[in-house]
Amino acid sequence: MTKRFGSTVALHEASIRIEAGQTHALVGRNGAGKSTLVSILTGLQPPDEGEVRFDGEPAPRLADRDAWRQRVACVYQKSTIIPELTVAENLFLNRHGRGRGGLISWRTVHSRARELLDTWSVDVDVRTPAKELGVEQRQFVEIARALSFGARFIILDEPTAQLDAAAITRLFARIGDLQRQGVTFLFISHHLQEIYEICDTVTVFRDARHILTAAVDELPRAELVAAMTGEAAAEAGGRRRGPAADAADVLEVDDASLPGVYENVSFRVRAGEIVGLAGAASSGRIEIAETVVGLRAAERGTVEIAGSRPRPGSVPAALRAGAGFVPQDRHHQGLVPEMSIADNGTLTIPERLGPGGFIDGRRRDDLAAAMIEKLAIKTPGPELPVSGLSGGNQQKVVMARALAGDPELLVLINPTAGVDVRSKEFLLGKVEEVADAGAGVLIASDELDDLRLCDRVLVVFQGRVVAETTSGWHDHQLVAAMEGVDLDA
């Protein structure tokens, strides 16, 4: 298949062949064309060239949505939940149960929705508007819906990106059931260990092309990464030195509480130190990090950045005190899509762009060019709108913005979410560089890859710091702690 968007080639003569009953992984870097393939396989858009066949039969007409849905169900990468509608209606959209006179019987819809969610142990009232769900519940509604069509072929495009470990375990258990019933899966993820965990076969796309297809157990991780990136996998860097013994505190959180979210949180980060805040989805780790940078205010307790106490709840104050920060979701809080890379990257440092509030365009572009250089952002120039970049590069711009003010304290929330394996390594490498140069770093994440480079990891469970580990921990210990199981047990 070939698919172009304007002059962009999203798929270039790419093929994939998925055997019945198999669980087939599709991997590739950001923008490799995976999601585009998904939209073609589910009949959302036609390929420019090439064709789709199911069981040897040509695919239905694009207009015949029902025929498509009998053949293939899908959890898309972008949410397809409609926030204003109830959970039940989201589950049965466009296939409501009809009652007398062809009108919708809401009672039927609700009871069927309840049954469906029961099988997933998703504990929400089906009459709740979907916007009131948490991210994870929402993802489960998507998954439950996709699996409820009775299709024998199911596509999951990064279903785990929004889930924490326990939820992933539940999802995989469910996939296991369906695998035993002979259901076929196409599974997309940037978490390579998941591929090894549940998939039989793996296909790699790179630059819109098919690179290889192989049995999972015949393809070691290093080779897989090499196929994705087109170069031999670099070995992870050596051990970090850690902060100097006499390093000063750049962050001191003292007995901070935000009732219902977190309680009595105290910790410090020293110059040159990388500290992780680990925890499950709703543990409170993100809120703690957001409190540090002024996106929230604690009700009690204090936050001290590099020796000063910024006004609680004020981002500008936190920035002035020396913080730099990568917010949780780049689409939501990280970027202004229609603004240029240069403007996005320098949004936090207006005072450096010229006198008296004026912006010297050349100075701004020079600063931006330096960032582009430093973070290896792939772009023709600093004036490109960030919406024209792929996810990985967008994330680099967010990082650039965080680093623009030469922060003494760098706060990162899920810094590598949805970023492909190679960009992830690169970004984390930069974080280490920054720490080595003397900044303190706080990483709030549940990604083990992010936490691995930390000198210390604080585990947050239900709003409290329940454990602290120094480096050298094992994955399972940390995961257990994040789930609230005693680490020493």
Partner: protein
């Protein structure tokens, strides 16, 4: 036990705790939620009751059947526009041109049917054609709007703002700015007939709203409007033919506006070249007070009805109360603003 988790889910921060645990018993909590949803639908009822009481105090005429029918009749045409705009708003579009369609659709019918010598009539077509022509013009305007908005991807606000100006200009052009009168009998019927002692236009308006309530609340087509307004990509993914639905909505809205215009022309037995001018403000105010969101996907037809009803009740009370003419505007506006602010309070969240 399960009650607690449900209660948590009902709070609007969505931060309900653990996803484990058993499912809620559903029955009771469900009942509560429906009650709550209904409540939002009924948000304006208290305000309507207050106005009714005030009205009765101001003048004993207020609650007489005569006066109530008077309110319903005078609001019937614009209520049809509110219904039309509601459909359009639910799919997250806007149609400002409705106010010009109200004049142009019957205007063209009058132009073609009114005999030469009476104003600017051309007398080209027998009078019996006037109603079909009115509705056809409505459909045509809708098609033009839809072409621009759906086919060419132009912004609905902008297109329909342009259309508002053009259509109004065309009516001024064909009428020479004059009023068409001596309309054919068939054009007058709906605006003047009485069925069971109540004006036909009142019946028609009520029936249209009833249909709207059923279609938007209880049919797949109706629900697809909410899906499109809520998240058009998701609607597409769910197999909804979004473009087709959007076409239907935009054309239906224009058709309804033409029908509203027909009722108005019938009631006034004429088509003024300014017919409909300025209506769009009232239409938006009514829809929004009635709980229709400008961001699409939210609000009910019943709510919209209470919105327009409230506005006309206020007008009527101000008239009965003999408020000095020059202050009617300010008072009316202030009451609308207060109603809007209150609907924000009952509606909960900040509006986008």
């Amino acid at each position: 036990m399960p009650e607690t988790t449900t209660a948590a889910a009902v709070t609007d921060d969505g931060s309900t705790g653990d996803p484990v645990g058993k499912r809620p018993s559903g029955g009771r909590a469900g009942g509560r939620r429906i009650a709550f949803a209904r409540l939002r639908d009924l948000a304006l009822i208290p305000a309507i009751i207050v106005i009714a009481v005030v009205g009765q105090l101001v003048s004993p005429v207020f609650l007489q059947a005569d006066n109530l029918i008077n309110i319903l009749q005078t609001m019937s045409e614009i209520a049809v526009l509110v219904l039309a705009q509601t459909l359009v708003l639910v799919v997250k579009k806007m149609d400002l041109s409705l106010e010009s369609t109200v004049g142009l659709a019957p205007g063209i019918a009058a132009w073609l049917t009114v005999p030469v010598g009476t104003g600017h009539g051309l007398g080209l077509v027998p009078g019996g054609w006037s109603v079909p022509i009115t509705l056809a013009v409505g459909v045509l305007i809708g098609v033009v709007n839809a072409l621009f908005i759906i086919r060419f991807g132009l912004h609905g606000f902008i297109v329909t703002l342009g259309m508002l100006i053009v259509l109004r200009g065309i009516l001024t052009g064909i009428s020479g700015g004059q009023t068409f009168f001596r309309l054919p009998e068939s054009m007058l019927y709906l605006g003047t007939a009485q069925w069971f002692g109540v004006p036909a236009s009142v019946w028609l308006c009520l029936v249209l709203f009833a249909i709207g309530i059923v279609v938007l609340g209880f049919t797949s087509f109706g629900r697809s409007l909410y899906a499109i307004g809520g998240n058009v990509d998701a609607a597409k993914a769910a197999g909804i033919r979004t473009d087709r639905v959007l076409w239907t909505v935009i054309v239906t809205a224009s058709l309804l506006a033409a029908l509203g215009g027909l009722l108005l022309s019938g009631r006034l037995a004429s088509v003024a070249s300014a017919q409909g001018n300025g209506y769009i403000f009232t239409v938006f105010a009514a829809a929004v007070i009635g709980g229709i969101s400008l961001n699409g996907g939210k609000g009910t037809v019943f709510g919209a009805f209470t919105g327009i009803l409230l506005l006309f009740m206020i007008q009527n009370v101000l008239t009965l109360g003999g408020v000095p003419a020059q202050w009617i505007g300010a008072l009316n506006g202030a009451i609308i603003l207060i109603a809007l602010a209150l609907s924000r309070v009952t509606g909960g969240k900040a509006q986008e």
